[in-house]
C-alpha cells in the first residue's frame, strides 16, 4: 500500500517537474537572437526558400502553437527533426544515450567502490592516523570539481605517463561488431575482451573524474553513519557474542548505515550525470553531453530541447528509483 502510494505521488511530482522543464527550455531557446534557419541556407537563397524551411520546422507559427505542437509530438514519441543533421532528434539522442549511461554507471560503480572502501577502512581505524588521512583526502576531493580532476588526469595519465586514452570512446581503428550502442555491455556479452579493454581504457579517466567527488561524499557520510551505528547496543551485543570488529562493521552496522547514505547519494548521482556534459567535452567522448554542447553552438533548437528533456527524465527517474530502493530496503516501510 505504502509503496504504491509513494510511487504514485512521485510520478505525479515527476510529471509536473518535467512539464516545468519543457516550458522553460522551450521559451528560453526561442529568445535566442539570430535565426536558426539562416545557418541552413545556401548562399543566395531567396525569401521563399526561407519561408519554406520555416514552415518545415514550424517556425512560422506563434510560440504557444509551436509549444503545443512540440509537446503533442513528444507525447507521441516524436521530438522533431534536428536542424544540423536533418535526422529525427529521437534517434540521434537515443543513439548517444547508451554512451552517457555507460559512463555514468561506470563512474557510480567506481565512486561506490572507492567511497565504500574508504568508509570501511576509516571506521575500522577510527580515531587513528588512517582516519585522519581519509578525512583530509575527502576534504580535497570534495572541494575540487570533476572538470579539474579530468584535466589533471589528462595531464598525468595522458601525457606524463600515458597509460590511458585521453579522447574518444573507442579506438577508431577497431572493427565494431555491435548491434546496440551499449558497447561496454555488449562487448562483454560477445566475449570481445579486446574491445572491452579498449573501451575501458577510454572511459577510465572521465569516469574517475566524475567519481571522485561522489566517492568523497560516500566515504564521509557512510563513515559517519557507520561510526554512529557502532556505538549502538546491538553492535555491542554482537561483540559479546564473539564477533570480530570487521564482522560487526560489515554485518551489523553496514545494513543500517547504508540507508541514510543512499538518499543523498541519489541526489549526488544526478549531479554526476550532469557533470558528464563537460567531462564528455573534455575527453571528446561521443555521448549526449558532447552532442548537447554542439547543438547549442549550432543553434539546433529541436536537438537542444530533446537532450534537455532527456536529461530531465533521467534525473527524475534516478530520484524515483532512489526513493523506491529506500522504501524497499527499509524494513519499517516495507512492512508498514
Amino acid at each position: 500500500m505504502t509503496l504504491i502510494r509513494i510511487i504514485l505521488k512521485r510520478l505525479l511530482s515527476m510529471s509536473i517537474t518535467l512539464i516545468g522543464v519543457a516550458v522553460i527550455v522551450f521559451f528560453i531557446i526561442r529568445i535566442v537572437p539570430g535565426n536558426p534557419i539562416a545557418m541552413m541556407l545556401p548562399p543566395g537563397a531567396g525569401e521563399e526558400d526561407i519561408a519554406r524551411l520555416k514552415a518545415l520546422y514550424g517556425f512560422d507559427k506563434t510560440l504557444p502553437e509551436q509549444f503545443l505542437i512540440w509537446v503533442r509530438g513528444i507525447l507521441g514519441g516524436d521530438f522533431g527533426t534536428s536542424i544540423t543533421s536533418r535526422q529525427p532528434v529521437m534517434s540521434l539522442v537515443l543513439g548517444r544515450l547508451p554512451a552517457t549511461l555507460e559512463l555514468s554507471i561506470m563512474a557510480l560503480v567506481m565512486a561506490v567502490m572507492i567511497g565504500g572502501t574508504l568508509a570501511l577502512i576509516g571506521t575500522r581505524q577510527r580515531g587513528g592516523k588512517a582516519e585522519a588521512l581519509i578525512d583530509v583526502t575527502n576534504g580535497v576531493s570534495l572541494s575540487v570539481p570533476d572538470f579539474l580532476w579530468g584535466l589533471l588526469f589528462i595531464l598525468l595519465f595522458g601525457v606524463l605517463w600515458p597509460v590511458f586514452h585521453i579522447s574518444g570512446r573507442v579506438s577508431p581503428a577497431l572493427d565494431l561488431p555491435f548491434v546496440t550502442n551499449f558497447y561496454l555491455f555488449e562487448s562483454l556479452l560477445r566475449l570481445r575482451f579486446d574491445i572491452w579493454l579498449d573501451l575501458v581504457s577510454h572511459m577510465f579517466m572521465p569516469a574517475l573524474a566524475l567519481a571522485i567527488p561522489l566517492a568523497a561524499i560516500i566515504a564521509q557520510l557512510l563513515k559517519q553513519s557507520l561510526k554512529e551505528t557502532m556505538h549502538l547496543d546491538y553492535a555491542t551485543l554482537a561483540r559479546t557474542k564473539g564477533y570480530s570488529e570487521n564482522h560487526v562493521i560489515l554485518r551489523e552496522a553496514l545494513p543500517n548505515a547504508i540507508l541514510p547514505t543512499l538518499t543523498l547519494v541519489g541526489v549526488q548521482f544526478t549531479f554526476l550525470i550532469g557533470g558528464t556534459v563537460i567531462i564528455e567535452r573534455l575527453f571528446s567522448y561521443e555521448g549526449l553531453g558532447n552532442m548537447a554542447i554542439d547543438a547549442v553552438i549550432n543553434r539546433d533548437l529541436p536537438l537542444i530541447q530533446g537532450i534537455v528533456i532527456l536529461f530531465a527524465v533521467i534525473f527524475t527517474t534516478v530520484n524515483l528509483l532512489v526513493d523506491l530502493t529506500y522504501a524497499l530496503l527499509n524494513p519499517r516501510l516495507r512492512h508498514g
Binding site: 546491538y234 561483540r239 543500517n256
Partner: protein, 292 residues
C-alpha cells in the same frame, strides 16, 4: 573453583578512578546481584568482563579470570571467542539491542552457527525450542519478523532466549527490566529466574533494585563509587547488613513485605562516611604506588 573471578580490578577515565580494587567471585550456577546506585560502577564491571568498555575507560590493574584464565593476558581474538562461547549478555534496553535491519531469527541463531559451528537447521530448531521456553507464541513467525514489529516485552524475551541459546556458563544481565513497563517487568524477572533454574547457568544480575535482589539472587556485592563495600549472601544482607551504607540502603528501600512503605533517602552523613572511606582507600593506593 569459581567460574568467574575478579581480582583487585582498577579502571580509570583519565585520572578519575571508575573501579577501585574490585574483587568478586561467581561460582558455577550462582546467582549474584551487583547492587549500587547509578554511577557506582556496576555496569562497568559487566562491560569489563565482556570487553566492551568505552574507549575512554582503561583498565589500570587487576585480573579478570574466567575458569582461572586471565582474560587480559589473552589475544583479543581468543578472548572474544571465549567470551562468545561461555558468557552471554541480557542487555538493558531491548529496543536498541536488536538490529533493526535484520530479521530476528538470524540474529538469535548467528552465534550458534558462526561461533559455535552448529549447522543452520540445527541452530534454528534449537532457537525455536528456546522461544517456546520463553513463552513466545508462533516462534517460526517471530523468527521471520523484524524487531520493529514486536513489542518491548517480546524483544526482551527474544534477547533472553538468545542469551541462553548457546548454553553459556555465565549470563550477565544489565538491569534487564529498567526499560520495560512495570507489568512486563515482573513477567520478565520471573522468566529469567525460571530459565536460570532450568539451565543452571550462573547469573550476574546488575541492578539498583533491592526488591528484585531479594526475590532472585543468592549472593550480592554492594558497590559505591566503584568500590566493593560488602560481599555477602542475600539472607545475611537483609537480616544483618555489615556495612553502614548497606544498612542505610536497606532502610531506604520499602520492604517488599510492606509495599505501602515510603521511600527514604540514604542519610547524607552515611554518604559522607563512605566517601571518606573511599578517599582513604585512594590515598593508601597512591602511597602503595609511590612506594613501588
Amino acid at each position: 573453583m569459581s567460574f568467574l573471578e575478579l581480582k583487585n580490578l582498577n579502571a580509570r577515565v583519565g585520572p578519575l578512578p571508575i573501579l577501585r580494587d574490585v574483587s568478586l567471585q561467581v561460582a558455577p550456577g550462582e546467582v549474584r546481584a551487583l547492587v549500587g546506585e547509578s554511577g557506582a560502577g556496576k555496569s562497568m564491571i559487566g562491560k569489563a568482563i565482556l570487553g566492551t568498555l568505552p574507549d575512554a575507560i582503561r583498565i589500570t590493574g587487576g585480573e579478570i579470570l574466567l575458569e582461572g584464565e586471565d582474560l587480559q593476558a589473552m589475544s583479543p581474538k581468543a578472548r572474544r571467542r571465549l567470551i562468545g562461547a561461555k558468557v552471554a549478555l541480557i542487555p538493558q534496553d531491548p529496543l536498541t539491542a536488536l538490529n533493526p535491519a535484520r530479521r530476528v531469527g538470524p540474529q538469535i541463531c548467528d552465534r550458534l552457527v558462526d561461533i559455535l559451528g552448529w549447522g543452520r537447521r540445527e541452530a534454528e530448531a534449537r532457537v525455536i525450542e528456546l522461544l517456546h521456553e520463553v513463552h513466545i507464541p508462533a516462534p517460526e513467525r517471530v523468527m521471520r519478523a523484524y524487531p520493529h514489529e514486536l513489542s518491548g516485552g517480546m524483544r526482551q524475551r527474544i534477547l533472553i532466549a538468545s542469551a541462553f541459546a548457546a548454553e553459556p556458563q555465565l549470563i550477565i544481565a544489565d538491569e534487564p527490566t529498567t526499560a520495560l513497563d512495570v507489568t512486563v517487568q515482573k513477567q520478565i524477572l520471573r522468566l529469567i529466574r525460571d530459565m536460570q533454574a532450568r539451565h543452571g547457568t550462573a547469573l550476574l544480575f546488575v541492578t539498583h533494585d533491592l526488591g528484585v535482589v531479594s526475590k532472585l539472587c543468592q549472593s550480592m556485592t554492594v558497590l559505591f563509587g566503584g568500590k566493593v563495600l560488602e560481599d555477602t549472601s542475600v539472607d545475611q544482607f537483609f537480616s544483618a547488613p555489615d556495612h553502614a551504607y548497606s544498612a542505610a540502603l536497606l532502610a531506604a528501600t520499602p520492604k517488599y513485605t510492606d509495599p505501602g512503605g515510603s521511600l527514604m533517602p540514604v542519610p547524607e552523613a552515611t554518604i559522607h562516611a563512605v566517601e571518606a572511606e573511599i578517599a582513604a582507600h585512594d590515598l593508601a593506593h597512591q602511597i602503595e604506588t609511590v612506594r613501588q
